[in-house]
Every structure is written in structure tokens, then in C-alpha cells.
């Protein structure tokens, strides 16, 4: 299987651990991942204004780049990029007049976008194209005894037109952890927002959210929280420093990308995990569980 891939900017720097582990896992699962050679930032947030078609152009251009390769599917790992690309695509497909105007903005593109590219999240590829059975066969180091709280945040499950699973009780991450040999815990806060971009000028709000979300995970006996978004990762991991200052009874907890758990179970070495990018160290937990 061969898939076009959109990394997004954060996976190229702060979230290198997410990208390296994803690419390793895909390779182990026999998926050839081809990065678009001229991708641009998707704009991060989906533009909600009815008249603001200009800001839909950035995500749509990446779909044109996919078409240029002769491909009709574009995979991304960053939940936020996924959400923005998928919703822009939905708007283009659902409204011919909007699509025509978007194409008018892109006068320098040799061909118009026709709404014919599907946007896929890595987790959808894992569940629907590779399949859990095929993954189970390739697990060489089961995540035995690792209790994982699966955190979806917002962007994988809301709104409906971008959701990859049930909005209130998604299961795909839990199913994946189970296949990898780990133990998913019941998690009340799996779709509770972490505060998103408030982290820039109101980190104390994000610290409250981190306290609640990681506290709920801890109460269920989780060893770690698995995420799929570099912003969730930054807020839940790096903002633990602020959280400790505000909430004296806070217990720190390592945060892990679901792709890192895949890489470990599929036999990856420490180099694809990029543990140096974590704030609360993940290494000691993995060593303690015999996974490193």
C-alpha cells in the first residue's frame, strides 16, 4: 500500500517524536508513505466564517498537490491538520459555488480542485485499511502491563463531518492499545478539550485542564495518556510545569503519542521515539515496564 502524506509543520520540529514513530510504524506495517513534495501549512484552525473562503485555500492547495501526484487519498497524523483539511474538503464538496470561488482564488494553479481527494487520519488507515488483525500479527513486543488512558481531544471526533469515530465515546485508540497488548482504562475525559491555543496567552487555564484530565487518568490507574495531536501533547505534557505551580497536589504523568506505542510494540528502537522531546520523562516508565 502506498499513501500520500501531509506532515504539517509541528511534526517537523516540536513533534518529531510523533512523525518518526509514525513513519516507522507505517513502514513495519508495509505502508509506503510518500510525503507531498510541496505542501504548505493548512492554516491550523478551520475558518468558521461563512464568507471567509480565502482561508480555505491553504488546506485545499494540499489536496491539489495530492491530485498532482495522481493520488486520491491524503494521510496525516496531526489531528488538527486532519480536522482542518477534512472540513475544508467537506465545504468544497458540499457547496459547488464555494468550490468555484476557492478555485478562482487559486488562479496560478494549472488545474482546478474538483473535490476528489479523501483526507485520512493515520488512525483511520490503521483501523480501516491495514486492519487490527494485520497489526496483531506484527506485534513483537506487546505492551504488557501498560495501562493507557486514550485521549482524543476535540479534533478527531468533532464536528460530525470530521469525526473518525463516535463523538461521545470513541473506541479506536482503545482498540489499538488492546491489539498492541496494552490495557486501555476507562477514561471520563477522553474527549474533553485541553484548552487548545489558550496555552499561548492563558497557560493557567490549560494548567487547570491538564490537572483535571491527567487527574482523571490517574484515578483510573493509568500509567500514561496517549494522544494524537501535538497541541494536546504540548498542553498535557509541557504545561505540567505550570500545573504543578498552581495545583500543589498534582501528580505528573508521562504523555505518549499513540504512534510511539505502535513503534515500541512493532519492534522500534529508542531512536524513533525521540524521548528527548518529552517534558515529563517517558523513558523511566517504559524501562519499568520492560519496554525499553
Amino acid at each position: 500500500m502506498k499513501l500520500s502524506y501531509f506532515p504539517g509543520c509541528t511534526l517537523k520540529n516540536h513533534a518529531r517524536n510523533f512523525e518518526d514513530s509514525t513513519l516507522y510504524a507505517m513502514d513495519r506495517l508495509g505502508v509506503e508513505v510518500v510525503e507531498l513534495d510541496r505542501w504548505n501549512c493548512c492554516g491550523t484552525v478551520y475558518s468558521l466564517s461563512a464568507d471567509d473562503l480565502m482561508r480555505q485555500v491553504a488546506p485545499i492547495r494540499n489536496l491539489l498537490r495530492t491530485r498532482e501526484r495522481g493520488d486520491s487519498q491524503l494521510m496525516t497524523g496531526c489531528s488538527m491538520c486532519f480536522n482542518t483539511l477534512k472540513r475544508a474538503n467537506h465545504r468544497a464538496r458540499a457547496n459547488a459555488e464555494d468550490l468555484a470561488r476557492m478555485n478562482d482564488f487559486m488562479y496560478d494553479e494549472p488545474v482546478d480542485y474538483a473535490g476528489d481527494v479523501d483526507v485520512l487520519h493515520v488512525l483511520e488507515v490503521v483501523r480501516d485499511q491495514i486492519g487490527f488483525d494485520a497489526i496483531r500479527e506484527r506485534v513483537v513486543k506487546p505492551l504488557e502491563g501498560l495501562r493507557v488512558a486514550c485521549y482524543y481531544g476535540c479534533m478527531l471526533v468533532r464536528p460530525n463531518e470530521a469525526a473518525i469515530d463516535d463523538a461521545e465515546n470513541p473506541r479506536v485508540l482503545e482498540d489499538l492499545i488492546t491489539v498492541l497488548g496494552g490495557e486501555p482504562v476507562d477514561f471520563s475525559h477522553k474527549t474533553e478539550c485541553c484548552g487548545a491555543h489558550q496555552t499561548v496567552d492563558k497557560p493557567e487555564i490549560v494548567a487547570d485542564k491538564t490537572y483535571e484530565i491527567l487527574g482523571a487518568a490517574k484515578a483510573q490507574g493509568a500509567d500514561t495518556v496517549a494522544v494524537s495531536c501535538p497541541l494536546c501533547a504540548f498542553n498535557l505534557d509541557h504545561r505540567q510545569e505550570t500545573t504543578l505551580k498552581i495545583h500543589a497536589d498534582f501528580h505528573t504523568m508521562p504523555v505518549v503519542y499513540f504512534s510511539q506505542l505502535m513503534a515500541i510494540a512493532l519492534g522500534g528502537s529508542e531512536s524513533v521515539l525521540r524521548l528527548d522531546l518529552h517534558h515529563t520523562p517517558l523513558g523511566p516508565l517504559l524501562v519499568g515496564k520492560g519496554l525499553l
Partner: protein, 135 residues
């Protein structure tokens, strides 16, 4: 909060503008409060989401454009998914932010972000914040 309802405010055009920018019908809201009940930011807001919608129905432009709440909403879409009337609250709040941003009244002063923060905070957060808070 005490507000005074007047025909002038209701007919001022603010309500229509918010509806147009969001492509939503404000009048569909029947004030059940479900949007506020599940909002992760409601505890920090000076005006909770359902009240923002009510004030917008009544054309309360000054109250809404000067409140903190419109900037606290993170477009997490929880309210949209749960509203029994199908009102897209997140789009309505975005349109109120847009009315400020389109007159160059930015909420975030980028020059005030420290060098250290610019290095430490990932682009996904910085760009998201600039997209939401600057013109």
C-alpha cells in the same frame, strides 16, 4: 447582569450581521443551556455561551463585543454537537470575534510574546492563537 432591551438595539443590524457571518439562525435557540453545560471554557467566561446567544438575539452589541467570553471560546465544537436545535454556537461566537478583528481590534499582541515562549511553544499553538486572535 442587568441589561435593558430596546427596539433600537434589536433593529440595529448587529443581530443580522452575526447571523450572516455565521450563516446561522440565532432565533432557533430556545435557551435550554446545554451549550453552556458542556463548555470546557464556561467556568472562565464572564458570559456563558447560552447567554451570549440570548444577548445576540437582542442586539446587545456593546455587551458582547467588550466581553472576555468571546475570546475564551476555543471552537472545540462540543456545544455545536450537543445543541438540540442544531444551532452552531461556535460559528456565532467566531462571528463576534470577526467583527472585532475586521476592525483591527486584535486580542493578542504578538510583540508581547516573549522570545522564550516563541521558541518553546509549538507552531500549532502559535499559529492557532494568531489565527483566532489577530486580524
Amino acid at each position: 447582569m442587568t441589561v435593558f432591551v430596546s427596539r433600537d438595539k434589536i433593529n440595529s443590524g448587529f443581530t443580522a450581521k452575526v447571523q450572516r457571518l455565521a450563516d446561522q439562525n440565532l432565533m432557533a435557540c430556545y435557551q435550554c443551556g446545554k451549550c453552556s453545560a458542556g463548555c470546557p471554557m464556561a467556568a472562565y467566561m464572564d458570559i456563558p455561551p447560552n447567554q451570549m446567544i440570548r444577548l445576540a438575539q437582542l442586539g446587545m452589541e456593546d455587551e458582547l463585543l467588550s466581553c472576555e467570553a468571546i475570546w475564551l471560546c476555543v471552537s472545540c465544537m462540543t456545544c455545536n454537537m450537543r445543541c438540540p436545535k442544531g444551532v452552531r454556537i461556535a460559528e456565532l461566537i467566531e462571528s463576534m470575534r470577526q467583527i472585532k478583528l475586521r476592525t483591527r481590534q486584535d486580542h493578542l499582541q504578538v510583540e508581547n510574546i516573549s522570545e522564550a515562549d516563541l521558541r518553546a511553544i509549538p507552531p500549532i499553538a502559535l499559529i492557532g492563537s494568531m489565527r483566532k486572535f489577530t486580524s
